[in-house]
């Protein structure tokens, strides 16, 4: 039996179908990130308009009907409240209609687990980089099996910083991949570099980079911004690698689509004689299949979620989630 997953934590609405860990379909629609960034209520309205057709499209692409679905997962958080609510309501509606269990999923866990199961990585060190968060994690069994946070951003997520910079530089669409394109062939300008042990901060760097725009070629600013923030992430990751002695690195989350960051992590892995894994871009960008993958794992282990354990949680921390598989 297949499992349906709905992701709606931010600008992307995604619906995916998974069976036995295999992705049968992964449909999405996106809110356009213009100069105003995301306006949560507008993104939520758009998601609400699209969620019905997108569910149908995902089922059709997977060549199944709603009767072939044995459970439905949705993103409980972290994310933007109005957007999360759309996914939850859609999931509750379908579940109530077909009498199947509904499974709340942590967005960060989904990003990581979809990559971990794809590569069969048993116990990797994880660099999770997305819009709202940037964390260095590994599974630990005490006091319960969960992703322990070894290091993380002390202010904003690295993706958020890149999106902000894209807006300041008038890029369209205003997000990280536009910054990556702009950065090609740039030259280095010195910028603030802040790593504290395995933690890091990005706001000072962002302010500095935005102020340099206009005075310096934007290509050089974008290049230096990327080099600086990715070096910070890599330094903290390498420190965690020495501490934990893990034998695999896993890169996941939206910013894992950046080819420069992938190359840098690959270089660290090589120098340690270990392997680095990153999923294809379609699974690193926010998507519904990753939610379905985790929902299926919960279902296989017989987890049940009564209505009071559902709802949404905008600040749902990854280290509060039990990894029960």
């Amino acid at each position: 039996m297949a499992v349906l997953g709905i992701e709606s934590s931010a600008h992307t609405l995604g619906v995916g179908v998974v069976e036995g860990g295999r992705v049968l379909s992964n449909e999405k629609s996106m809110y356009h990130m213009g100069p105003g960034g995301i306006i949560p209520a507008k993104a939520a309205d758009l998601h609400a308009d699209n969620v019905g057709p997108l569910v149908s499209a995902a089922l059709k692409r997977a060549h199944i009907s709603v009767r072939d679905i044995s459970a439905i997962g949705y993103t409980k958080g972290p994310g933007l409240g109005p957007c999360l609510r759309v996914g939850q309501l859609a999931a509750e509606t379908i579940a109530a209609h077909s009498g199947i269990p509904i499974i709340p999923v942590n967005h960060a866990v989904a990003h990581i687990e979809v990559t971990r199961s794809m590569f069969g990585a048993r116990d990797p060190l994880v660099l999770y980089v997305s819009g709202g968060n940037s964390q260095i994690l590994a599974i630990t069994d005490s006091p319960f099996r969960h992703y322990h946070v070894y290091g993380e951003t002390l202010d904003i997520g690295v993706g958020n910083m890149l999106d902000n910079f894209a807006r300041a530089a008038d890029l369209d669409p205003a997000w990280g991949s536009s910054v990556e394109r702009l950065a090609r062939g740039g030259r280095y300008i010195q910028m603030p570099y802040t790593v504290k042990g395995m933690d890091f901060t990005f706001t000072g760097l962002m302010t500095n980079a935005s102020r340099l725009l206009g005075g310096r070629p934007s290509r050089d600013v974008a290049y230096s911004l990327q080099e600086t923030c990715f070096s910070m992430l890599c330094e903290a990751t390498e420190r965690a690698l020495f501490l934990t002695r893990k034998s695999e690195i896993l890169l996941s989350g939206g910013v894992a689509q950046n080819s420069r960051l992938r190359a840098m992590l690959e270089s660290i892995a090589q120098s340690h004689g270990i392997r680095a894994h990153a999923a294809p871009n379609s699974l690193n960008a926010d998507n519904g299949a990753m939610i379905a993958v985790v929902a299926e794992k919960y279902q296989e282990k017989g987890f049940r979620f009564p209505s009071k354990a559902r709802g949404i949680d905008q600040r749902y921390r990854i280290d509060t989630v039990e990894i029960g598989w």
């Binding site: 946070v149 070894y150 504290k196």
Partner: protein, 213 residues
């Protein structure tokens, strides 16, 4: 001088930041700390970080020692290398891992609190104040090593991070002993400890479980 001894250099340990080699200089047992090039980052950034940190570490070691803290003496400073006095002692993290006897550790914890008080009083935040960077000498002396992330600072926040890192890494009773001595020896401990509680209340820290690795 350094060139001649290089052949005898033996790798003691490798960390994320640098490699440590055993060495002898001026007839003194020494440690050579080398910040090697990191291939993942571009040369301009890499060089700046390595030189800046090496220089800053030497400066911080000197400042700490001038203030009266027990730290290794700097014997030689190169571009990306420091040669420093070798301290004979047991790493506190080895004891942490092997279980604690408060009876034998009480004195060391008090002296550790006093060492941090000396550093903070001199306006130095260590930046990586964990049991892996504390050596317990045979004489009962407590040494603080690795000033690679140390900074001169007036901010209670930077100092509070030192306290929090230690707090996360040792048992609660040991922390109580350590912090009692710190409080007694450092006049401005009140504002630092108030900041510790404030940081612990911040969302991002709240759910962090004790480091088990």
């Amino acid at each position: 001088m350094v060139k001649r001894t290089r052949a005898a250099h033996r790798l003691i340990s490798e960390g994320a930041e640098a490699k440590l080699y055993g060495a002898r200089l001026f007839g003194i047992d020494a440690v050579l700390k080398h910040r090697a090039r990191k291939e993942y980052r571009i040369a301009e950034l890499d060089e700046r970080l390595r030189l800046q940190r090496t220089r800053s570490e030497a400066r911080m070691l000197y400042a700490a020692s001038s203030a009266g803290a027990n730290v290794p003496a700097v014997l030689f400073l190169g571009n990306d290398k420091i040669v420093m006095e070798r301290i004979d002692g047991r790493m506190m993290s080895a004891i942490t891992a092997g279980g604690w006897s408060m009876r034998t550790m009480r004195g060391s914890l008090r002296r550790l609190g006093a060492q941090l008080a000396i550093l903070h009083n001199a306006g130095i935040a260590h930046g990586d104040f964990t049991p892996a960077n504390i050596l317990l000498g045979g004489s009962g002396k407590v040494y603080v090593i690795d000033f690679g992330l140390a900074e001169t600072t007036g901010s209670a926040e930077d100092k509070a991070i030192d306290i929090i890192l230690m707090k996360r890494s040792i048992p609660a009773r040991a922390y109580a002993e350590f912090v009692r001595a710190y409080r007694a020896e450092y006049a401005q401990s009140g504002s630092v400890l108030a900041r510790v509680s404030e940081i612990e209340r911040r969302g991002r820290y709240q759910a962090r479980t004790l480091l088990s690795a």
